[in-house]
């Protein structure tokens, strides 16, 4: 059986990216509730949170920032398109702005997150 695939344009890619970024942030949130709840045992908490400052986890945090900023700004774009009919005409430019701001925030934030790794 050959299923037909809807080939949308930029809006469809924004939709897919919104789902994936939202799913990833939710998975992190579920895990984060568990690791924060070890605060009742401060020594265990510190042992676990020491991992967050390892290089690999810092890279993960940059990814989390990208997902978070994209999902936030794209969500804001969705609200704009829903409530202000004029925005739909400039929908593509708004998406470009979302992508540009996501990249900018990720680069600047990523630099700040990674930097301590190199100045000990």
């Amino acid at each position: 059986v050959k299923a037909s695939v809807y080939r949308g344009k930029s809006g469809q890619w924004a939709f897919i990216a919104h789902r994936i970024s939202g799913f990833l942030v939710m998975m992190f949130l579920l895990m984060h509730v568990v690791d924060v709840s070890t605060i009742h045992n401060p020594r265990l908490y510190n042992e676990i949170h020491e991992l967050y400052s390892r290089f690999l986890l810092r890279l993960f945090e940059v990814g989390l920032l990208a997902a978070l900023v994209f999902h936030s700004l794209n969500g804001w774009r969705i609200v704009m398109v829903d409530f202000f009919p004029g925005v739909i005409k400039r929908e593509k430019e708004v998406l470009t702005a979302v992508l540009f701001l996501t990249a900018l925030a990720t680069i600047i934030g990523g630099y700040i997150i990674i930097k301590p790794e190199f100045i000990h």
Binding site: R19, G22, F23, V25, M26, L29, L30, V33, V34, V36, S37, I39, H40, P42, R43, Y45, N46, H49, E50, Y52, S53, R58, E61, L64, L65, L68, V69, S72, G75, W76, I78, V79, D82, G109, I112, I113, P116
Partner: protein, 135 residues
């Protein structure tokens, strides 16, 4: 209701209509909730990330950092709002994903039961952590 209508042979239109309307109003409510909670979460989540990763090096966010922050009940309320709105917004998003991609209704029901239980459990666990913590 469907059994009743089968027995009495009464038209089943009324109950279906009312259940449809109920479903529609829930989805409308859910639609507004995603937008309103999303706009609030934009500030709560990015604010939280900025505090723990940008304004402070993550290496400094140890148990002492949490103890100092949670001395102020306003930060506990902030964190609890982020916890509850984040989980509810995320859970509703997972509901869309499960409805769209799990086609077998038995598997969908099982997956939803697991996802709803885990999220509810973690919401209670996180709430308990925020309320009962003593430095």
């Amino acid at each position: 209701l469907s059994l009743d209508s089968a027995v009495t042979d009464a038209p089943a239109i009324a109950p279906i209509e009312s259940s449809r309307r109920r479903g529609a109003s829930f989805e409308l409510w859910s639609w507004y909730f995603m937008r309103i909670s999303g706009l609030i979460l934009l500030f709560l989540a990015l604010g939280h990330f900025a505090i723990t990763h940008i304004l402070n090096d993550v290496a400094k966010t140890n148990s002492g950092f949490v103890a100092r922050r949670w001395e102020n009940p306003l930060w506990r309320i902030y964190d609890w709002l982020l916890l509850s709105l984040g989980l509810l917004h995320g859970l509703n998003g997972l509901r869309f994903i499960m409805d769209d991609y799990i086609h077998s209704s038995a598997k969908r029901a099982t997956t939803k039961a697991i996802v709803y239980s885990v999220t509810t459990g973690l919401f209670l666990y996180g709430t308990l952590t925020v309320i009962t913590y003593k430095a």
